[in-house]
Point group: C2
Chain length 376, copies 2
Amino acid sequence: MTENVGNVGTVETKYYTFGNSPKELTLESGEKREPITLAYETYGKLNQKKSNAILVLHALSGDAHAAGLHKGDKRPGWWDTMIGSEKALDTEKYFVVCSNVLGGCKGSTGPSSTNPKTGKPYGTKFPIITIQDMVSAQRRLIDHLGIDKLLTVIGGSMGGMQVLQWMIYYPDRIGSAIPIATTMKHSPQQIAFNEVGRQAIMADHNWNNGDYYGRSAPDRGLAVARMVGHITYMSDVSMAEKFGRRLKNHGRPFKFGTDFEVEGYLRYRSDNFVKRFDANSYLYITKAIDYFNILNGKKLSKIFKDLKAKVLVLAFKSDWLYPAYQSREIVKACKLAGVDTTYCEINSTYGHDAFLLEIKEETHLIKHFLRTVSNG
Amino acid sequence: MTENVGNVGTVETKYYTFGNSPKELTLESGEKREPITLAYETYGKLNQKKSNAILVLHALSGDAHAAGLHKGDKRPGWWDTMIGSEKALDTEKYFVVCSNVLGGCKGSTGPSSTNPKTGKPYGTKFPIITIQDMVSAQRRLIDHLGIDKLLTVIGGSMGGMQVLQWMIYYPDRIGSAIPIATTMKHSPQQIAFNEVGRQAIMADHNWNNGDYYGRSAPDRGLAVARMVGHITYMSDVSMAEKFGRRLKNHGRPFKFGTDFEVEGYLRYRSDNFVKRFDANSYLYITKAIDYFNILNGKKLSKIFKDLKAKVLVLAFKSDWLYPAYQSREIVKACKLAGVDTTYCEINSTYGHDAFLLEIKEETHLIKHFLRTVSNG
């Protein structure tokens, strides 16, 4: 496998800025924002008919760098296992696009961006954004790339929410859709986990009501938020397999230090996370996720009524953050609307993280699905 | 039911201090501590044979005040629904004792107690304690009350761990045991949730390495820890039933304020918690829970080999913090040791909180069990 790592080669993040009215973006909140920049990357080549484009949508902590290597880096993009030559999203055949979401902190306009009106970072002056706003901005990028119809939109977790939003908001712009390990609406338990993360950030006295740019950031609060996240991304079984009750330091336990390997793992992962992520973006993006509710009182049969695209819904048995029953609800809504839908519940012990780890199974299913879509 | 609230009447917390060697307590860590005080309450009357005593063991955030009303208070003790005249632990028949654990903050010696050597609160100078240490201290109290053999020991969650420790450590001092919604060893997922709580407390700059008595306490960190706890005490289903996606404030959402009812609930409950609980006690007690592992490399059949007591193990179907499979392991260990064991998995949507809420079912099962034990 290792020889396939980063086989799309060295990649660069590009930027698309749209600003002048009437190109400004009206957010779901009613606020207007310009200019808006989206950071994005592309892999493979757009064919002459512009019919081979795939839009990859990232999860809470993802970014535009989905595959390949940045110059000088050794770690490939976050879904490199799925994007490249002969991989699930085969860059010999497809033109793959991934953009950092609106509200993010990796090149797209977000709370850490400079507010042109003040010359300072927005901080909590940034408007509330929604999954719909993220997708509206993505559509501008797709327009800009000259793509009329995407072959497919694909993503897991929050990426899956964006997929669902594309299915509802721009049904004519997609040939197919692959929502993975996601939900049509955030449940109170899911909201509660996000809220704990937000409270941890806002409890950090460095947060300073979101005004911390240029000084100490609320790293400890963000680290706690990330730790909560990590627990929910794994499963009871995967944690037991990975760590057991093994102690990190032998001999006498050190008071409130790192006793157990699982503690060391959480600290290590969250320490890395705070180096690359902005706490305010975490607040805004988790809020967008919590507001997500495409049902919102509508009849289940009406949700996808305008959709002609084929749909592949994937879920994982041990995922307790986005349990499979939520994916089965998506399937039900699709079927009631007469949408050509395939559902697969993959056996995995990895929990929610499975969408990043069960590569063999996903590759098999997605390759087959894309073959039927391309032929259809 | 309301007429039965607090039917043991007005109660007072009592204190038992044991200090002079050889009465000092050697902790599992090897450290010796004296004096040690345990706060405790009793309900009902000890019979002449001293054969009707029940020891109730509390969970992480509990205390000695399990039933009845403190003078001037309107809220009864934490398990008042289970303790009183004609209740599961019928105070017409039984003498019920409940003590605050060693390391606690409600009258028993803990990190907020005064260190006699310095005249200041211990803070993190307090030694690491274990479930075994808690039980050792309880045994001194039981000796002090002149009770040779307890009719039963009963508790849920961390209370259940203490029950298991009694079963191993003092098998001859108990006639029966009722571990509820508990485990023989803390799993990495359970450790991880506790670790997030500890990290949240230690991230609060008011924590000040545990030295905060007499000034601002790490309330925000403790509140975040409690929020994580609350999510794990409920279930996906119970949260959906209790809150749905209802908004707390109508109209436009207020940025990072309380949008959803579930957020309001978590904030309200955690704000109340910090008024009554000490952050350092939270650190010490969660560590004691995480260290808990009565298996510890032993053969399953050897764990309860000395036990003659009858055992009733209770678990709840929707409890995902202490899943039923962990209770079934207890049952297996008991059965392998030839212990007379009854197991019941109660249907409930309340999650881990069920041990405080499924009163009717628990009352039925426990009353019946105690009848067979009393007759046996």
